[in-house]
Protein backbone atom coordinates (compact mmCIF):
# COMPACT_ATOMS: atom_id res chain seq x y z
CA UNK A 1 0.00 0.00 0.00
CA UNK A 2 1.04 3.56 -0.62
CA UNK A 3 0.93 6.15 2.10
CA UNK A 4 1.88 9.78 2.46
CA UNK A 5 3.59 10.76 5.69
CA UNK A 6 2.76 14.35 6.55
CA UNK A 7 5.65 15.63 8.63
CA UNK A 8 4.39 18.10 11.19
CA UNK A 9 6.45 20.63 13.10
CA UNK A 10 5.51 22.36 16.32
CA UNK A 11 6.60 25.80 17.52
CA UNK A 12 8.46 24.15 20.38
CA UNK A 13 10.37 21.91 17.99
CA UNK A 14 11.33 24.88 15.79
CA UNK A 15 12.51 26.79 18.88
CA UNK A 16 14.55 23.84 20.11
CA UNK A 17 16.13 23.46 16.69
CA UNK A 18 17.02 27.15 16.62
CA UNK A 19 18.86 26.94 19.94
CA UNK A 20 21.04 24.00 18.88
CA UNK A 21 24.73 24.55 18.30
CA UNK A 22 25.89 24.06 14.69
CA UNK A 23 27.43 20.73 15.63
CA UNK A 24 24.21 19.53 17.27
CA UNK A 25 22.18 20.69 14.29
CA UNK A 26 24.48 18.77 11.97
CA UNK A 27 23.95 15.67 14.05
CA UNK A 28 20.15 16.11 13.84
CA UNK A 29 20.33 16.44 10.05
CA UNK A 30 22.62 13.44 9.88
CA UNK A 31 20.03 11.37 11.76
CA UNK A 32 17.44 12.30 9.14
CA UNK A 33 19.86 11.41 6.34
CA UNK A 34 20.57 8.06 8.02
CA UNK A 35 16.87 7.36 8.44
CA UNK A 36 16.30 8.10 4.76
CA UNK A 37 19.12 5.73 3.82
CA UNK A 38 17.80 2.94 6.06
CA UNK A 39 14.31 3.26 4.58
CA UNK A 40 15.35 4.11 1.01
CA UNK A 41 13.73 0.95 -0.35
CA UNK A 42 10.30 2.08 0.80
CA UNK A 43 10.46 5.79 0.00
CA UNK A 44 8.89 6.83 -3.30
CA UNK A 45 9.35 10.58 -3.09
CA UNK A 46 8.80 13.57 -0.90
CA UNK A 47 10.06 16.98 -0.05
CA UNK A 48 10.55 19.69 2.49
CA UNK A 49 8.16 22.64 2.45
CA UNK A 50 9.18 26.28 2.82
CA UNK A 51 7.86 27.86 6.04
CA UNK A 52 4.14 28.63 6.39
CA UNK A 53 4.61 32.37 5.98
CA UNK A 54 5.45 31.69 2.32
CA UNK A 55 2.08 30.00 1.78
CA UNK A 56 -0.72 31.38 -0.38
CA UNK A 57 -4.21 29.95 -0.05
CA UNK A 58 -6.89 30.13 -2.73
CA UNK A 59 -10.56 29.67 -1.81
CA UNK A 60 -12.74 28.45 -4.63
CA UNK A 61 -15.93 27.75 -2.73
CA UNK A 62 -17.39 31.27 -2.74
CA UNK A 63 -17.85 32.19 -6.39
CA UNK A 64 -14.81 34.08 -7.59
CA UNK A 65 -11.53 32.58 -6.37
CA UNK A 66 -10.26 34.43 -3.32
CA UNK A 67 -6.52 34.65 -2.87
CA UNK A 68 -5.27 34.84 0.71
CA UNK A 69 -1.90 35.19 2.32
CA UNK A 70 -0.88 32.40 4.68
CA UNK A 71 -1.54 28.69 5.14
CA UNK A 72 -4.97 27.04 5.01
CA UNK A 73 -4.70 25.94 8.63
CA UNK A 74 -3.21 28.61 10.81
CA UNK A 75 -1.91 26.98 13.93
CA UNK A 76 0.99 26.02 16.08
CA UNK A 77 1.47 22.75 14.24
CA UNK A 78 2.35 23.06 10.59
CA UNK A 79 3.09 20.57 7.85
CA UNK A 80 6.74 21.03 7.03
CA UNK A 81 7.24 18.23 4.57
CA UNK A 82 5.94 14.96 3.20
CA UNK A 83 7.16 11.54 2.20
CA UNK A 84 5.51 9.09 -0.12
CA UNK A 85 6.14 5.51 0.97
CA UNK A 86 5.19 2.07 -0.25
CA UNK A 87 4.87 -0.67 2.39
CA UNK A 88 2.78 -3.78 3.06
CA UNK A 89 0.37 -2.35 5.58
CA UNK A 90 -0.20 0.23 8.30
CA UNK A 91 1.95 -1.69 10.80
CA UNK A 92 4.96 -1.39 8.51
CA UNK A 93 4.29 2.32 8.06
CA UNK A 94 4.01 2.67 11.84
CA UNK A 95 7.29 0.86 12.33
CA UNK A 96 9.04 3.26 9.95
CA UNK A 97 7.52 6.32 11.55
CA UNK A 98 8.42 5.23 15.06
CA UNK A 99 12.09 6.05 14.44
CA UNK A 100 11.59 9.19 12.31
CA UNK A 101 13.97 11.81 13.77
CA UNK A 102 12.94 14.85 11.72
CA UNK A 103 9.73 16.21 13.27
CA UNK A 104 7.72 15.67 16.45
CA UNK A 105 4.41 14.70 14.77
CA UNK A 106 3.65 12.55 11.72
CA UNK A 107 0.26 11.97 10.14
CA UNK A 108 -0.03 8.77 8.10
CA UNK A 109 -2.54 8.94 5.26
CA UNK A 110 -3.20 6.14 2.79
CA UNK A 111 -3.12 7.11 -0.88
CA UNK A 112 -6.20 5.97 -2.74
Amino acid sequence: MKYVLLLVETEEFARDLATLSPAERDRTYQRVVDWMATNAGKIRGGGELAPPETATTVRLDHGEPVILDGPFVDGKEVVSGYLKIEVDDLDEALRMVRTWPGSPVVEIRPLV
Partner: protein
Protein backbone atom coordinates in the same frame (compact mmCIF):
# COMPACT_ATOMS: atom_id res chain seq x y z
CA UNK B 1 -31.34 -16.81 38.56
CA UNK B 2 -34.50 -17.74 36.68
CA UNK B 3 -34.76 -20.44 34.02
CA UNK B 4 -34.83 -17.83 31.27
CA UNK B 5 -31.66 -16.27 32.63
CA UNK B 6 -29.94 -19.64 32.56
CA UNK B 7 -31.13 -20.29 29.00
CA UNK B 8 -30.02 -16.82 27.98
CA UNK B 9 -26.57 -17.30 29.51
CA UNK B 10 -26.18 -20.70 27.89
CA UNK B 11 -27.11 -19.22 24.52
CA UNK B 12 -24.63 -16.38 24.94
CA UNK B 13 -21.89 -18.76 25.96
CA UNK B 14 -22.46 -21.14 23.02
CA UNK B 15 -22.46 -18.21 20.60
CA UNK B 16 -19.27 -16.86 22.17
CA UNK B 17 -17.59 -20.25 21.95
CA UNK B 18 -18.05 -20.30 18.18
CA UNK B 19 -18.28 -16.71 16.92
CA UNK B 20 -14.53 -16.10 16.82
CA UNK B 21 -13.86 -19.45 15.14
CA UNK B 22 -16.50 -18.63 12.56
CA UNK B 23 -14.93 -15.23 11.93
CA UNK B 24 -11.53 -16.85 11.48
CA UNK B 25 -12.90 -19.38 8.97
CA UNK B 26 -14.77 -16.70 7.03
CA UNK B 27 -11.73 -14.46 7.05
CA UNK B 28 -9.82 -17.26 5.36
CA UNK B 29 -12.47 -17.65 2.67
CA UNK B 30 -13.22 -14.02 1.98
CA UNK B 31 -9.93 -12.42 2.94
CA UNK B 32 -11.95 -9.40 3.89
CA UNK B 33 -12.45 -8.39 7.49
CA UNK B 34 -15.59 -6.31 6.93
CA UNK B 35 -17.37 -9.09 5.01
CA UNK B 36 -16.39 -11.75 7.53
CA UNK B 37 -17.57 -9.53 10.36
CA UNK B 38 -20.94 -8.94 8.69
CA UNK B 39 -21.45 -12.63 8.04
CA UNK B 40 -20.69 -13.51 11.67
CA UNK B 41 -23.23 -10.96 12.85
CA UNK B 42 -25.87 -12.34 10.47
CA UNK B 43 -25.26 -15.88 11.65
CA UNK B 44 -25.42 -14.82 15.31
CA UNK B 45 -28.68 -12.96 14.76
CA UNK B 46 -30.14 -16.02 13.00
CA UNK B 47 -29.05 -18.22 15.91
CA UNK B 48 -30.68 -15.90 18.45
CA UNK B 49 -33.90 -16.04 16.40
CA UNK B 50 -33.99 -19.82 15.91
CA UNK B 51 -32.31 -21.42 18.90
CA UNK B 52 -34.66 -20.25 21.64
CA UNK B 53 -37.52 -22.06 19.84
CA UNK B 54 -35.71 -24.95 18.17
CA UNK B 55 -33.13 -25.57 20.84
CA UNK B 56 -29.38 -25.29 20.48
CA UNK B 57 -28.25 -27.62 17.65
CA UNK B 58 -25.86 -30.50 18.33
CA UNK B 59 -23.22 -28.84 16.21
CA UNK B 60 -23.69 -25.10 16.77
CA UNK B 61 -20.51 -24.39 14.79
CA UNK B 62 -21.79 -26.25 11.73
CA UNK B 63 -25.19 -24.55 12.04
CA UNK B 64 -23.60 -21.10 12.20
CA UNK B 65 -21.27 -21.85 9.34
CA UNK B 66 -24.08 -23.09 7.10
CA UNK B 67 -26.02 -19.87 7.66
CA UNK B 68 -22.94 -17.74 7.02
CA UNK B 69 -22.03 -19.71 3.91
CA UNK B 70 -25.49 -19.39 2.42
CA UNK B 71 -25.37 -15.68 3.05
CA UNK B 72 -21.86 -15.46 1.62
CA UNK B 73 -22.97 -17.15 -1.61
CA UNK B 74 -25.83 -14.66 -1.91
CA UNK B 75 -23.39 -11.83 -1.42
CA UNK B 76 -20.93 -13.18 -3.94
CA UNK B 77 -23.59 -13.54 -6.63
CA UNK B 78 -24.09 -9.81 -6.34
CA UNK B 79 -20.42 -8.95 -6.23
CA UNK B 80 -18.49 -7.94 -9.35
CA UNK B 81 -15.78 -10.51 -8.88
CA UNK B 82 -18.36 -13.23 -8.31
CA UNK B 83 -16.54 -15.86 -10.33
CA UNK B 84 -13.24 -15.35 -8.58
CA UNK B 85 -14.79 -15.51 -5.16
CA UNK B 86 -16.94 -18.49 -5.99
CA UNK B 87 -13.89 -20.32 -7.31
CA UNK B 88 -12.18 -19.55 -4.03
CA UNK B 89 -15.11 -20.91 -2.06
CA UNK B 90 -15.14 -24.12 -4.13
CA UNK B 91 -11.43 -24.59 -3.91
CA UNK B 92 -11.54 -24.45 -0.15
CA UNK B 93 -14.28 -27.03 -0.12
CA UNK B 94 -16.79 -24.52 1.16
CA UNK B 95 -19.01 -24.79 -1.94
CA UNK B 96 -22.73 -25.29 -1.64
CA UNK B 97 -22.33 -29.06 -2.00
CA UNK B 98 -19.66 -29.40 0.64
CA UNK B 99 -20.94 -31.95 3.11
CA UNK B 100 -18.53 -31.29 5.94
CA UNK B 101 -18.25 -27.72 7.03
CA UNK B 102 -14.61 -27.18 7.77
CA UNK B 103 -15.35 -24.57 10.37
CA UNK B 104 -14.39 -26.68 13.35
CA UNK B 105 -11.82 -28.77 11.50
CA UNK B 106 -8.63 -26.98 12.41
CA UNK B 107 -8.98 -23.23 12.70
CA UNK B 108 -5.64 -22.78 14.37
CA UNK B 109 -6.03 -21.10 17.73
CA UNK B 110 -3.55 -18.39 16.85
CA UNK B 111 -5.88 -17.11 14.15
CA UNK B 112 -8.27 -15.93 16.81
CA UNK B 113 -5.30 -14.08 18.19
CA UNK B 114 -4.97 -12.28 14.85
CA UNK B 115 -8.62 -11.41 15.09
CA UNK B 116 -8.18 -9.94 18.57
CA UNK B 117 -5.13 -7.89 17.60
CA UNK B 118 -6.89 -6.52 14.54
CA UNK B 119 -9.96 -5.49 16.54
CA UNK B 120 -7.75 -3.79 19.14
CA UNK B 121 -5.42 -2.04 16.71
CA UNK B 122 -4.21 1.26 18.21
CA UNK B 123 -5.15 3.10 15.01
CA UNK B 124 -8.82 2.51 15.93
CA UNK B 125 -10.59 4.59 18.57
CA UNK B 126 -11.01 2.82 21.90
CA UNK B 127 -14.80 2.55 21.70
CA UNK B 128 -14.55 0.97 18.26
CA UNK B 129 -11.96 -1.51 19.55
CA UNK B 130 -14.38 -2.52 22.28
CA UNK B 131 -17.39 -2.82 19.98
CA UNK B 132 -15.50 -4.76 17.33
CA UNK B 133 -14.01 -7.18 19.84
CA UNK B 134 -17.42 -7.85 21.34
CA UNK B 135 -19.03 -8.39 17.96
CA UNK B 136 -16.38 -10.45 16.19
CA UNK B 137 -14.66 -12.30 19.00
CA UNK B 138 -17.52 -12.74 21.48
CA UNK B 139 -20.42 -12.80 19.00
CA UNK B 140 -22.48 -10.09 20.67
CA UNK B 141 -25.13 -8.34 18.61
CA UNK B 142 -25.12 -4.60 18.04
CA UNK B 143 -28.21 -4.35 20.19
CA UNK B 144 -26.62 -6.25 23.10
CA UNK B 145 -23.58 -3.97 22.96
CA UNK B 146 -25.78 -0.86 22.86
CA UNK B 147 -27.70 -2.06 25.93
CA UNK B 148 -24.57 -2.92 27.86
CA UNK B 149 -23.09 0.55 27.31
CA UNK B 150 -26.35 2.51 27.53
CA UNK B 151 -25.71 3.85 24.03
CA UNK B 152 -28.09 4.06 21.12
CA UNK B 153 -27.89 1.15 18.70
CA UNK B 154 -27.26 3.39 15.70
CA UNK B 155 -24.24 4.87 17.46
CA UNK B 156 -22.71 1.41 17.90
CA UNK B 157 -23.54 0.46 14.32
CA UNK B 158 -21.85 3.64 13.11
CA UNK B 159 -18.76 2.98 15.20
CA UNK B 160 -18.49 -0.51 13.71
CA UNK B 161 -18.99 0.69 10.14
CA UNK B 162 -16.39 3.44 10.50
CA UNK B 163 -13.89 1.09 12.11
CA UNK B 164 -14.30 -1.51 9.39
CA UNK B 165 -13.86 1.13 6.71
CA UNK B 166 -10.70 2.31 8.40
CA UNK B 167 -9.33 -1.23 8.65
CA UNK B 168 -9.77 -1.63 4.90
CA UNK B 169 -8.76 1.86 3.73
CA UNK B 170 -5.84 2.49 6.08
CA UNK B 171 -4.38 -0.99 5.57
CA UNK B 172 -4.67 -2.25 9.14
CA UNK B 173 -3.26 -5.78 8.86
CA UNK B 174 -4.86 -9.02 9.99
CA UNK B 175 -2.02 -10.51 11.96
CA UNK B 176 -0.32 -10.87 15.31
CA UNK B 177 2.25 -8.08 15.74
CA UNK B 178 5.95 -8.91 15.52
CA UNK B 179 7.92 -9.42 18.70
CA UNK B 180 9.32 -5.89 18.74
CA UNK B 181 5.82 -4.39 18.74
CA UNK B 182 4.10 -7.06 20.79
CA UNK B 183 4.39 -5.46 24.23
CA UNK B 184 2.58 -2.16 23.48
CA UNK B 185 0.03 -3.92 21.28
CA UNK B 186 -0.72 -6.45 24.00
CA UNK B 187 -1.21 -3.60 26.45
CA UNK B 188 -3.83 -2.24 24.06
CA UNK B 189 -5.71 -5.57 24.06
CA UNK B 190 -5.53 -5.86 27.86
CA UNK B 191 -6.88 -2.32 28.21
CA UNK B 192 -9.91 -3.24 26.10
CA UNK B 193 -10.60 -6.35 28.19
CA UNK B 194 -10.12 -4.46 31.46
CA UNK B 195 -12.43 -1.70 30.29
CA UNK B 196 -15.09 -4.28 29.44
CA UNK B 197 -14.70 -5.82 32.85
CA UNK B 198 -14.99 -2.47 34.63
CA UNK B 199 -18.01 -1.50 32.62
CA UNK B 200 -19.75 -4.74 33.55
CA UNK B 201 -18.56 -4.67 37.15
CA UNK B 202 -19.78 -1.16 37.86
CA UNK B 203 -23.14 -1.67 36.20
CA UNK B 204 -25.67 -2.54 38.87
CA UNK B 205 -27.34 -5.92 38.53
CA UNK B 206 -29.26 -5.22 35.38
CA UNK B 207 -32.40 -6.64 33.87
CA UNK B 208 -32.41 -10.40 33.17
CA UNK B 209 -31.99 -9.85 29.43
CA UNK B 210 -28.98 -7.59 29.84
CA UNK B 211 -25.65 -9.02 28.87
CA UNK B 212 -23.09 -9.62 31.60
CA UNK B 213 -19.94 -7.94 30.30
CA UNK B 214 -17.82 -9.32 33.16
CA UNK B 215 -18.55 -12.75 31.70
CA UNK B 216 -17.24 -11.66 28.30
CA UNK B 217 -14.22 -10.01 29.89
CA UNK B 218 -13.29 -13.14 31.85
CA UNK B 219 -13.83 -15.30 28.81
CA UNK B 220 -11.66 -13.05 26.64
CA UNK B 221 -8.91 -12.92 29.25
CA UNK B 222 -8.92 -16.68 29.60
CA UNK B 223 -8.87 -17.15 25.82
CA UNK B 224 -5.92 -14.77 25.60
CA UNK B 225 -4.18 -16.61 28.43
CA UNK B 226 -4.68 -19.88 26.62
CA UNK B 227 -3.25 -18.38 23.42
CA UNK B 228 -0.36 -16.55 25.12
CA UNK B 229 0.39 -18.68 28.19
CA UNK B 230 3.82 -17.16 28.78
CA UNK B 231 2.65 -13.54 29.06
CA UNK B 232 2.50 -12.79 32.81
CA UNK B 233 0.34 -9.68 32.42
CA UNK B 234 -2.34 -11.69 30.62
CA UNK B 235 -2.39 -14.12 33.55
CA UNK B 236 -2.39 -11.12 35.90
CA UNK B 237 -5.47 -9.62 34.30
CA UNK B 238 -7.25 -12.98 34.30
CA UNK B 239 -6.43 -13.43 38.00
CA UNK B 240 -7.61 -9.88 38.74
CA UNK B 241 -10.95 -10.47 37.03
CA UNK B 242 -11.43 -13.83 38.76
CA UNK B 243 -10.58 -12.42 42.18
CA UNK B 244 -13.23 -9.75 41.75
CA UNK B 245 -15.83 -12.13 40.40
CA UNK B 246 -15.21 -14.65 43.16
CA UNK B 247 -16.49 -12.05 45.62
CA UNK B 248 -19.30 -10.63 43.48
CA UNK B 249 -22.11 -12.25 45.52
CA UNK B 250 -21.15 -10.21 48.58
CA UNK B 251 -21.16 -6.88 46.74
CA UNK B 252 -24.90 -6.42 46.75
CA UNK B 253 -27.20 -6.73 49.70
CA UNK B 254 -30.92 -7.40 49.70
CA UNK B 255 -32.68 -5.02 47.31
CA UNK B 256 -29.53 -4.56 45.23
CA UNK B 257 -27.83 -2.07 47.56
CA UNK B 258 -24.06 -1.83 47.19
CA UNK B 259 -22.17 -3.29 50.17
CA UNK B 260 -18.71 -1.80 50.74
CA UNK B 261 -15.69 -3.99 51.46
CA UNK B 262 -15.57 -3.56 55.28
CA UNK B 263 -19.22 -4.60 55.57
CA UNK B 264 -19.21 -7.54 53.17
CA UNK B 265 -20.20 -10.99 54.39
CA UNK B 266 -16.99 -12.82 53.55
CA UNK B 267 -18.60 -16.23 53.90
CA UNK B 268 -20.23 -15.45 50.54
CA UNK B 269 -16.84 -15.28 48.86
CA UNK B 270 -15.94 -18.24 46.66
CA UNK B 271 -12.83 -19.53 48.47
CA UNK B 272 -11.97 -22.14 45.81
CA UNK B 273 -12.12 -19.58 43.01
CA UNK B 274 -9.96 -17.22 45.07
CA UNK B 275 -7.38 -19.93 45.70
CA UNK B 276 -7.31 -20.82 41.99
CA UNK B 277 -6.82 -17.19 40.97
CA UNK B 278 -4.01 -16.76 43.48
CA UNK B 279 -2.27 -19.87 42.14
CA UNK B 280 -2.55 -18.41 38.64
CA UNK B 281 -1.07 -15.14 39.86
CA UNK B 282 1.77 -16.87 41.73
CA UNK B 283 2.72 -18.82 38.61
CA UNK B 284 2.80 -15.57 36.61
CA UNK B 285 4.89 -13.83 39.27
CA UNK B 286 7.55 -16.54 39.03
CA UNK B 287 8.54 -15.09 35.65
CA UNK B 288 9.79 -11.98 37.45
CA UNK B 289 8.18 -9.66 34.91
CA UNK B 290 5.89 -7.59 37.10
CA UNK B 291 3.26 -5.35 35.54
CA UNK B 292 0.25 -3.24 36.50
CA UNK B 293 -2.28 -6.08 36.20
CA UNK B 294 -0.24 -8.51 38.29
CA UNK B 295 0.19 -5.86 40.96
CA UNK B 296 -3.48 -4.90 40.98
CA UNK B 297 -4.35 -8.59 41.25
CA UNK B 298 -1.87 -8.93 44.14
CA UNK B 299 -3.59 -6.07 45.97
CA UNK B 300 -7.01 -7.62 45.45
CA UNK B 301 -5.56 -10.98 46.52
CA UNK B 302 -4.49 -9.42 49.85
CA UNK B 303 -8.11 -8.58 50.54
CA UNK B 304 -9.49 -11.82 49.14
CA UNK B 305 -7.20 -13.96 51.29
CA UNK B 306 -8.13 -12.20 54.51
CA UNK B 307 -10.94 -13.79 56.53
CA UNK B 308 -11.83 -10.68 58.51
CA UNK B 309 -11.66 -7.00 57.55
CA UNK B 310 -9.77 -6.22 60.78
CA UNK B 311 -6.95 -8.58 59.78
CA UNK B 312 -6.21 -6.85 56.46
CA UNK B 313 -2.46 -6.46 55.89
CA UNK B 314 -2.46 -2.74 55.06
CA UNK B 315 1.33 -2.35 55.17
CA UNK B 316 1.64 -4.96 52.43
CA UNK B 317 -1.09 -3.24 50.42
CA UNK B 318 0.62 0.16 50.68
CA UNK B 319 3.84 -1.48 49.50
CA UNK B 320 2.10 -3.02 46.50
CA UNK B 321 0.58 0.36 45.64
CA UNK B 322 4.05 1.90 45.75
CA UNK B 323 5.26 -0.69 43.25
CA UNK B 324 2.20 -0.11 41.08
CA UNK B 325 2.74 3.65 41.12
CA UNK B 326 6.36 3.12 40.16
CA UNK B 327 5.30 1.14 37.05
CA UNK B 328 2.13 3.04 36.20
CA UNK B 329 1.81 6.45 37.88
CA UNK B 330 -1.81 7.58 38.07
CA UNK B 331 -3.75 9.93 40.35
CA UNK B 332 -6.52 7.34 40.85
CA UNK B 333 -3.95 4.82 42.05
CA UNK B 334 -2.57 7.45 44.43
CA UNK B 335 -6.08 7.91 45.76
CA UNK B 336 -6.37 4.18 46.42
CA UNK B 337 -2.98 4.21 48.09
CA UNK B 338 -4.12 7.05 50.34
CA UNK B 339 -7.09 4.91 51.44
CA UNK B 340 -4.69 2.11 52.37
CA UNK B 341 -2.55 4.67 54.23
CA UNK B 342 -5.60 5.57 56.30
CA UNK B 343 -5.63 2.07 57.77
CA UNK B 344 -1.87 1.50 57.79
CA UNK B 345 -0.90 4.85 59.31
CA UNK B 346 -3.91 7.00 60.11
CA UNK B 347 -6.55 9.38 58.75
CA UNK B 348 -4.40 12.48 59.14
CA UNK B 349 -1.65 11.07 56.94
CA UNK B 350 -4.19 9.87 54.40
CA UNK B 351 -5.89 13.27 54.25
CA UNK B 352 -2.55 14.96 53.64
CA UNK B 353 -1.98 12.67 50.65
CA UNK B 354 -5.49 13.30 49.33
CA UNK B 355 -5.09 17.05 49.55
CA UNK B 356 -2.25 16.84 47.06
CA UNK B 357 -4.64 15.23 44.55
CA UNK B 358 -7.44 17.80 44.72
CA UNK B 359 -6.27 19.54 41.58
CA UNK B 360 -6.34 16.53 39.27
CA UNK B 361 -9.17 14.56 40.87
CA UNK B 362 -11.52 17.45 41.69
CA UNK B 363 -14.18 16.04 39.35
CA UNK B 364 -13.85 12.42 40.52
CA UNK B 365 -16.61 11.34 42.90
CA UNK B 366 -14.51 8.79 44.78
CA UNK B 367 -11.99 11.50 45.65
CA UNK B 368 -14.70 13.45 47.48
CA UNK B 369 -16.32 10.34 48.98
CA UNK B 370 -12.94 9.24 50.40
CA UNK B 371 -12.25 12.72 51.70
CA UNK B 372 -15.64 12.70 53.41
CA UNK B 373 -14.76 9.52 55.29
CA UNK B 374 -11.46 10.93 56.47
CA UNK B 375 -12.99 14.23 57.54
CA UNK B 376 -15.65 12.37 59.50
CA UNK B 377 -12.90 10.29 61.11
CA UNK B 378 -11.04 13.40 62.13
CA UNK B 379 -14.11 15.05 63.63
CA UNK B 380 -15.18 17.48 60.89
CA UNK B 381 -18.76 16.35 60.18
CA UNK B 382 -19.80 19.52 58.30
CA UNK B 383 -16.91 19.39 55.86
CA UNK B 384 -17.54 15.66 55.50
CA UNK B 385 -21.16 16.26 54.48
CA UNK B 386 -20.10 18.88 51.96
CA UNK B 387 -17.65 16.41 50.41
CA UNK B 388 -20.29 13.66 50.29
CA UNK B 389 -22.70 16.04 48.57
CA UNK B 390 -20.04 16.90 46.03
CA UNK B 391 -19.45 13.19 45.40
CA UNK B 392 -23.17 12.60 44.96
CA UNK B 393 -23.33 15.28 42.28
CA UNK B 394 -20.45 13.69 40.38
CA UNK B 395 -21.59 10.06 40.11
CA UNK B 396 -24.29 8.71 37.83
CA UNK B 397 -24.10 5.18 39.25
CA UNK B 398 -27.35 4.48 41.16
CA UNK B 399 -25.75 2.00 43.58
CA UNK B 400 -23.04 4.49 44.54
CA UNK B 401 -25.59 7.26 44.83
CA UNK B 402 -27.58 5.14 47.27
CA UNK B 403 -24.54 4.62 49.52
CA UNK B 404 -23.78 8.34 49.56
CA UNK B 405 -27.39 9.30 50.27
CA UNK B 406 -27.47 6.90 53.16
CA UNK B 407 -24.29 8.42 54.53
CA UNK B 408 -25.68 11.92 54.24
CA UNK B 409 -28.77 10.84 56.14
CA UNK B 410 -27.10 8.75 58.84
CA UNK B 411 -23.45 9.78 58.59
Amino acid sequence: MTVTDAAHDRLASVVRQHAGQLAVALMRVTGDFATAEDLVQDAVLAALRHWPQEGIPDRPDAWLFTVARRRALDEFVRADNYRAKLAQLQRLGYGDQAAEPAVSAEPAEDERLRLIFTCCHPALPRQAQVALTLRVVCGLTTSQIAHAFFVHETAIAQRITRAKRKIADAGIPYRVPDDDELAPRLTEVLTVIYLLFNEGYLATTGSPASHDLTDDAEWLASLLHQLMPTEPEVAGLLALIRLHRARADARFGPGGALVLLPDQDRSLWDRDAIADAIRLLTRAARQQRPGPYQLQAAIVACHAETERWEDTDWEQIVLLYDMLLHLAPSPVTRLHRAIAVRYAVGSQAALAELDELGGVLGEYHLYHASRAELLRDLGHPDEACAADRRALKLTANPAEQAVLRQRLTWG
